[in-house]
């Protein structure tokens, strides 16, 4: 996603990543992958439950977020979403760019 930054910029689009990881772990991932967008740490499931994507006992008995991607429009409403049925299979940046183009 990072490598398509300009594609998202030209489409007036920002990116957020969210998981239950601690801030320290998220920072490590951001450094490792060279991410410039914010990675939010959501250990209390505020955002995860707000979007209904909690996976109960999804990781060795612990609750986590299921992989899911939402696009909120400028009014803050869900305009597009992908909740994969297989957590090995994720949305590609190309799909997101296509989705953004179809929204406008």
């Amino acid at each position: 996603m990072q490598s398509n930054q300009t594609e998202f910029d030209t489409r007036n689009t920002e990116i957020l990543g969210i998981s239950v990881d601690t801030r320290e772990d998220s920072a490590k991932i951001a450094t490792k992958l060279g991410l410039t967008y914010p990675i939010l740490s959501d250990p209390d499931f505020q955002a995860i439950d707000a979007f209904g994507v909690r996976h109960k006992e999804g990781m060795m008995g612990k609750d986590i977020a299921r992989p899911a991607v939402f696009i909120l429009n400028p009014e803050g409403r869900v305009a597009w979403s992908n909740l994969t049925d297989n957590w090995r299979v994720r949305v590609t940046p190309e799909v997101l760019i296509e989705a953004l183009d179809s929204l406008n």
Binding site: T13, L16, G17, D25, A47, V53, G76, W80, W87
Partner: protein, 145 residues
């Protein structure tokens, strides 16, 4: 052993079936899961593992009546190990990774998520309202990398 004239047996390549299966298994997680094409479906790893499994079977078949009990047991163990690893991999790819909550639990189109404020990895407070007037892609992921 009272073998007369011990000729050095040729190396049996099929002995490498289990290591090949193991290689196919591990390289999925270490290498091929990083690329969407070979991650979504294990195009590389599954064939490697099946070839390894075939080799292990071949080695076992050749040695099923070997004189040495040790050889027979060894070839059975190689085959059993290979079968188990392939089964584990198939379970992971074709069943385990599909174990997810219903997609319909997710926030529906046109809905507005409940407000929240969370800290990002640099300690900055982030709220959804900060992004009004822009499209926002939110990617949830499993974490624990």
């Amino acid at each position: 052993m009272t073998n007369s004239a011990p000729t050095k047996p040729r190396f049996e390549w099929s002995k490498l079936g289990l290591p090949l299966v193991l290689f196919g298994f591990l390289s999925y997680f270490l290498v091929f899961a990083k690329f969407p094409l070979t991650r979504d479906f294990p195009w590389v790893n599954l064939p490697i593992m099946l070839i390894g499994l075939w080799m292990a079977w071949k080695y076992h078949w050749r040695n099923r009546k070997a004189r040495l009990t040790r050889t027979r047991i060894f070839s059975s163990l190689l085959l059993t190990g290979s079968v188990l690893i392939v089964a584990l991999f198939c379970f992971y790819v074709f069943s385990f990774s599909y174990q997810l909550p219903k997609a319909s639990d997710g926030l529906a189109l046109e809905q507005q998520p409940k407000a929240f404020t969370l800290k990002d990895h640099q300690g900055k407070d982030i709220s959804l309202t900060d992004y009004r007037g822009k499209n926002l892609i939110i990617s949830f992921y499993r974490g624990y990398w």
